[in-house]
């Protein structure tokens, strides 16, 4: 009843929705549709030749594998960091909590040149590995490092609020029933955090797949070895091969949209789980 009254009482529905739809169409939907419309005007064989050429396929492999590994590393350390921030008191906690968002705030180009300076063979970290014969910057490992930097806040910031609102009673009940601390964690806490962890993982992965600025400075950009897919779009554009760039962009957009759908599903699951575990359903 309140909703129907609200609909009639509050003004501005037509204006705000109309403006939202027009602006969304002009800035996002119509320009994005250009990729698909232009791709559709290509011959299928021509399209397929671009997106299945060895150099492009090698870039899918590099982008996919480094993004996957980076998201996995972030899931592990992101969980540890979220756990430390919620469950422990330690010196400098506020600083750590604030700086978790640094990768969101620091421009990607700055991250890129700084990470390559740190991990180059004469850099602070690179020089520790150089004597062992391990090259970090300008190899696929460099890409992994940049993507790990970029993705960390996604995982921490998805797990942290869930952990904070997780009712203590579950762990207390587990302890009362004789569970060890590890059992309580692995059988009670971890399942509760799982939707949030998967969401964070997917968000970090999705961001990593499309990332450009932080990667190109540290990647070395060796064809077939350390070229990421977004770089190939830029390369095609620099050669005035707009059709080739569009074909690769179509593949990337399809991947992005699929990830967006998966993330939406995960977030839906996570919010249902959270409502259940924090007892909001009972209230």
């Amino acid at each position: 009843m309140a909703q129907t009254v609200g609909k009639r009482v509050l003004p501005g529905f037509g204006l705000s929705l109309g403006y939202t739809l027009v602006y969304l169409s002009l800035i996002v939907l119509i320009p994005l549709s250009a990729v698909f419309i232009n791709a559709a005007s290509m011959q299928w064989s021509e399209f397929w030749q671009v997106v299945s050429s060895p150099q492009v396929v090698a870039s899918y492999r590099v982008s996919f594998l480094t993004s996957l590994l980076a998201a996995l590393i972030n899931s592990f350390f992101g969980l540890l960091l979220a756990w430390s921030l919620v469950r422990y008191n330690f010196f400098g906690k506020r600083l750590v909590d604030a700086l978790i968002d640094l990768p969101f705030a620091l421009p990607t180009a700055v991250a890129g040149i700084t990470l390559s300076a740190l991990y180059a063979k004469n850099g602070w970290i690179g020089s520790l590995f150089a004597p062992l014969g391990i090259k970090l910057a300008f190899t696929p490992l460099g890409i992994l490092i940049a993507l790990t930097f970029i993705g960390l806040p996604f995982v921490v910031r998805t797990i942290q609020p869930v952990l904070q609102e997780l009712s203590l009673e579950f762990e207390e009940a587990a302890a009362t029933l004789g569970a060890s601390r590890w059992q309580a964690f692995s059988r009670v806490v971890l399942p509760a955090l799982l939707p949030a962890m998967l969401t964070g993982f997917a968000l970090a992965f999705a961001r990593a797949v499309g990332e450009y600025g932080s990667v190109i400075f540290i990647a070395g950009n060796v064809p077939m070895v350390s070229e990421i897919t977004p770089l190939l779009i830029i390369t095609r554009l620099e050669q005035f091969d707009v059709a080739g760039a569009t074909a690769i962009a179509t593949v990337m957009l399809i991947v992005s949209f699929s990830l967006l759908l998966i993330i939406n599903g995960l977030q839906h699951w996570a919010s249902n789980r959270k409502r259940y575990l924090t007892g909001e359903d009972l209230a």
Binding site: A2, Q3, G6, L10, P11, G12, F13, S16, L17, Y19, T20, Y23, L24, I27, V28, P31, L32, A34, V35, L80, L81, W83, S84, R87, Y88, N89, V96, D97, A98, L99, I100, L102, A105, L106, P107, T108, A109, V110, I113, T114, A117, L152, L168, E172, A174, A175, R181, A184, V209, E211, Y212, G213, F217, P230, I233, L237, M252, S256, L259, L260
Partner: protein, 288 residues
């Protein structure tokens, strides 16, 4: 109350967990977890932040000062500020309009609309730049018409502004939507039934209650607008002193092996990031 303003979490002591034996880890486990997470934090976040400033000052203050007062840097700063000054107000007005219709009314396809608003976040910045090349570039949809009328969008300032608007599109909306949904419509309905006009209701009732969330969205939008690299790189054309924003200027200097100068300009952007995080902390403290 966590989640009150989008991603903001209220700071909370960990005492309740440390006091109860049911939620307290053995000492060794606790120190391992803390040690690993703080080591990861130091290597992946703290060190890069310090390294920007160390590299920037490696050749001394003179070189640093020369780099940041160079005319090309000045031009890059002006263009960066211009792009942000256009993108932020547009996305701010959009964010408020979108949050108003989504949070105060029921309609079909609302969930789809929310998803579509988030779309720019899931698109690679490079693709974001490319779409404007397809629409406004020399061989794009409007390419011929634009060149007949002598209007340049791609490889010119308008393209940079458009790309910036695209990548910062969702920031304000996605902060305001959950916030205004949580607040409901009671206050506004009361104001309207007491005779307030729509605008009066918005300015006097809604706006005061969303101001921190709004500010939060704006500073995130600003950080991304000033720091965007991939999307503007595609549409910029890299004309020195004309179509280079600060991040693109960093790239040019770096590719010319002027490392100290590149890091000096980068340190300006790192300072911007620190200011952003500082304001974020302030907002969290005020709205907690």
């Amino acid at each position: 109350m966590s989640g009150m303003v989008g991603g903001i979490q209220a700071y909370q002591g960990a005492d309740i967990y440390e006091l109860s034996p049911a939620t307290r880890e053995p000492k060794w486990a606790r120190y391992t977890i803390l040690g690993l997470s703080l080591a990861f934090f130091a290597i992946f976040l703290l060190m890069p932040l310090l390294a920007v400033f160390v590299e920037a000052l490696r050749k001394g203050w003179d070189v640093y000062w020369q780099a940041i007062t160079h005319p090309d840097t000045g031009a890059a700063i002006r263009l960066t500020l211009l792009a942000a000054a256009i993108a932020i107000p547009l996305n701010l007005v959009f964010g408020v309009a979108a949050a108003w219709c989504i949070s105060k009314f029921e309609f079909r396809g609302k969930q789809l609309l929310i998803t579509l608003i988030d779309l720019p976040f899931s698109v690679s910045p490079v693709v974001a730049g490319l779409v404007y090349v397809l629409v406004f570039g020399a061989h794009g949809w409007f390419g011929e018409w634009l060149s007949e009328h002598n209007i340049k969008i791609i490889f010119a300032v308008p393209g940079i502004v458009l790309a910036t608007i695209f990548v910062t599109f969702p920031f304000v909306a996605r902060e305001l939507i959950p916030l205004m949904q949580a607040q409901g419509t009671d206050a506004e309905e009361a104001a309207v039934s007491l005779g307030a006009s729509g605008w009066q209701t918005f300015w006097r009732v809604t706006l005061p209650s969303i101001k921190w969330g709004l500010l939060y969205g704006v500073i995130l939008c600003n950080a991304r607008a000033m720091g965007e690299f991939g999307a503007v790189s595609v549409v910029s054309g890299h004309l020195r002193g004309q179509t280079t924003t600060l991040p693109l200027h960093v790239e040019i200097l770096y590719n010319e092996y002027q490392f100290a100068a590149a890091f000096a300009v980068a340190s300006l952007l790192a300072l911007l990031a620190l200011v952003t995080l500082g304001i974020k902390l302030f907002i969290e403290w005020r709205s907690a």
